[in-house]
């Protein structure tokens, strides 16, 4: 038996083959499209020549045009606000729910299961549903807020420049809470019960136990959940398309939607690609954070 065959049968070759298989698939179906976007960002792309990879090279011209666009600052700020706001609330609410359902009371598993309902919905359906809930004149949310005296005048969630981004964020938080809750529940269940019992014997309060046991033991889970949350939020597209389309007057425009809008509404594929490249840079950082967080993992 040759060395290679032996390695494939008994050694590291087997592992390499498995990872290579997956990576090759991803590089072909996700890596090449990524590369295509990077190449486009340096070119002037004619809308009727999408089929070819090479067009007139214009260097950094597209980048200059994007940064000079008056909308660029709004988009940058909105993207940060949307991502951090969504992840913060999804995570906090998800964690609170995970802790709540971690107390075994009758029906707790059953109730936790109900929350998955939000997650299994197609993004498009969620968007359409929230568009309807948040409508200004006939929306049920406005009606509830008005009748409980929380607001005096209806809020035009989709059409008021002060609320449009918040409207999409609300829907996105609703959509993302179950995902956070379930993954965090998994992490909570992995903490050995005897750690808590020992701490309780030592007289630690519930709050102390949370900060000295729960949080440290959950570090790798929290890192993974937040990293995935940021990446998923940066990809959120359906909700924008269904609720505000980035408007009015660009007030709820975020990077991923703007990039699509430039490419497929104004047919300026070069500038659309520039924003895609910017997003790649951001996700590089987020992915690095995730990989670091796996260092804290313990294996049985």
């Amino acid at each position: 038996m040759g060395r290679l065959a032996r390695s494939l049968r008994d050694g590291i070759g087997f592992d390499t083959l498995l990872v290579f298989f997956t990576l090759a698939y991803l590089l072909a179906f996700a890596g090449l499209p990524l590369l295509y976007n990077i190449v486009l960002s340096f070119q002037s792309v004619d809308m009727f020549a999408l089929g070819s990879l090479f067009h007139e090279v214009t260097g950094l011209e597209n980048y200059r045009a994007v940064f000079e666009d008056p909308l660029a600052r709004t988009v940058l700020w909105n993207t940060i606000l949307f991502t951090l706001g969504s992840v913060l609330f999804q995570f906090t609410l998800g964690f609170a729910l995970a802790l709540f359902f971690n107390q075994a009371f009758p029906g707790s598993t059953w109730f936790r299961g109900l929350f998955l309902a939000g997650w299994v919905m197609p993004g498009l359906v969620v968007g359409v549903l929230w568009n309807w809930l948040l409508s200004g004149d006939f929306g049920v949310i406005n009606w509830l807020l008005l009748n409980t005296g929380i607001i005096d005048d209806p809020i035009f969630w989709r059409s008021d420049t002060d609320y449009s981004l918040l409207a999409v964020m609300l829907a996105n938080i609703w959509y993302g809470v179950p995902f956070n809750m379930i993954l965090l529940s998994v992490g909570l269940a992995a903490i050995p019960e005897d750690l808590y019992e020992a701490a309780e014997l030592d007289g630690a309060t519930a709050v102390q136990r949370f900060f000295t046991i729960t949080l440290p033991m959950m570090r790798s889970t929290i890192g993974a959940v937040i990293a995935l949350g940021i990446i998923f939020t940066l990809q959120q597209f359906d909700l924008f398309a269904a609720i505000t389309s980035g408007g009015p007057a660009g007030s709820s425009m975020v990077a991923q939607y703007w990039s699509w809008e430039l490419s497929f509404r104004q047919f300026d594929f070069g500038r659309g690609a520039v924003i895609a490249v910017m997003m790649i840079v951001v996700v590089l950082g987020v992915a690095a954070i995730y990989v670091r967080s796996t260092r804290q993992e313990t294996r049985l």
Binding site: D10, F14, L18, V19, F21, T22, L23, Y25, L26, F29, A30, L32, P33, Y36, N37, L50, G51, F100, F101, F105, T109, W110, F111, G113, L114, F115, L116, A117, G118, W119, M121, P122, G123, L124, V125, L129, W130, D137, F138, V140, S185, V186, A189, A190, A224, I231, L234, Q235, F237, D238, Q256, F264, G272, A276, M279, A287, A288, V291, R299, L300
Partner: protein
């Protein structure tokens, strides 16, 4: 703590759970209620929280007019394909990435995560062009499955990696000592042990495939092969928006998966939380 106190505590927790679940599920409830209203009672002020006269014929209309059954079949076909491809291509990598701890593993993990940065709306043009020139779009649903799988893969790998981490290494090593090849130990010992975690992750991937829109919209030109997400947007045309019909379509679309989840949720949640995914 006395039994009485315990009971009272449980009752309080149960009530709180009931309230937050009701708040959380209200949007879904509103979808069902709206789908049963007439076109004019939809806009009534104050809104009707119970439909006075349920308009079941809206569902009949959707059923007859929009070929929803055909759309749902396509959705199931695509979701099944995505799940199979993702599991077959992804499980091995998840296992390896859980098994070792080195800079190369870090790099592989980083690359896998990185590759899911762009939303499908920005990936679809190059994929469309490449698939067309390779002839993959002769089989548009297969092409769509391949494209979606690249999107779901990183998530699956990360979930499954957690499942593989919970399997004691000694069991696998014992199998190797008994003369099994690595592949043999992987298939005979490790995969069965990680079964629950893989199944649950696969189920979540199935859901993503079931609801996918962007790739299906662009890669599948033939109406007869399109999934329900596309069928629904036909109801969102600028000139045919009727909220009750849209909500009825949405309800028909999601009710099967919701029902499956309510029936299976005990297994899913316990599969996720009690050991399988540690």
């Amino acid at each position: 703590m006395s039994a009485l106190n315990e009971n009272r505590k449980n009752a309080v927790l149960f009530t709180i759970a009931l309230v937050i679940a009701a708040i959380y599920l209200f949007p879904l409830y509103w979808m069902y209620v709206t789908s049963l209203k007439t076109n004019s009672s939809i806009f009534a002020v104050p809104p009707e929280f119970l439909p006075g006269a349920p308009q079941w014929q809206t569902y009949a209309l959707i059923w007859n007019e929009s070929d929803i059954l055909r759309y749902l079949k396509n959705s199931i076909f695509i979701a099944t394909g995505v799940t199979l491809v993702t599991v077959i291509v992804g499980a091995g990598a998840a296992y390896v990435l859980a098994r070792y701890r080195s800079i190369w593993i870090d790099i592989a993990l980083f690359t896998i995560l990185m590759l899911q940065v762009l939303p499908p709306s920005l990936m679809v043009t190059p994929i469309f062009v490449a698939f067309t020139s390779l002839g993959i779009l002769e089989y548009p649903r297969i092409g769509t499955i391949l494209a979606i799988s690249a999107k779901t893969m990183p998530f699956f790998v990360i979930l499954c990696r957690a499942a593989f981490m919970s399997i004691p290494r000694e069991l696998e090593e014992a199998a190797l000592v008994d003369g099994n090849s690595r592949a043999g130990a992987f298939v005979m010992i490790v995969l069965p042990l990680a079964r629950n975690g893989i199944l649950v992750a696969a189920l979540l991937i199935f859901m993503q495939g079931f609801g996918e829109y962007v790739y299906s919209a662009s890669l599948i030109a033939d109406n007869r092969l399109q999934p329900a997400s596309i069928g629904m947007t036909n109801y969102l045309q600028p000139n045919v928006v009727t909220w009750n019909a849209i909500m009825a379509f949405a309800a028909t679309y999601v009710t099967p998966i919701l029902a499956a989840f309510v029936l299976l949720q005990r297994k899913i949640v316990s599969g996720l939380t009690s050991g399988a995914l540690k």
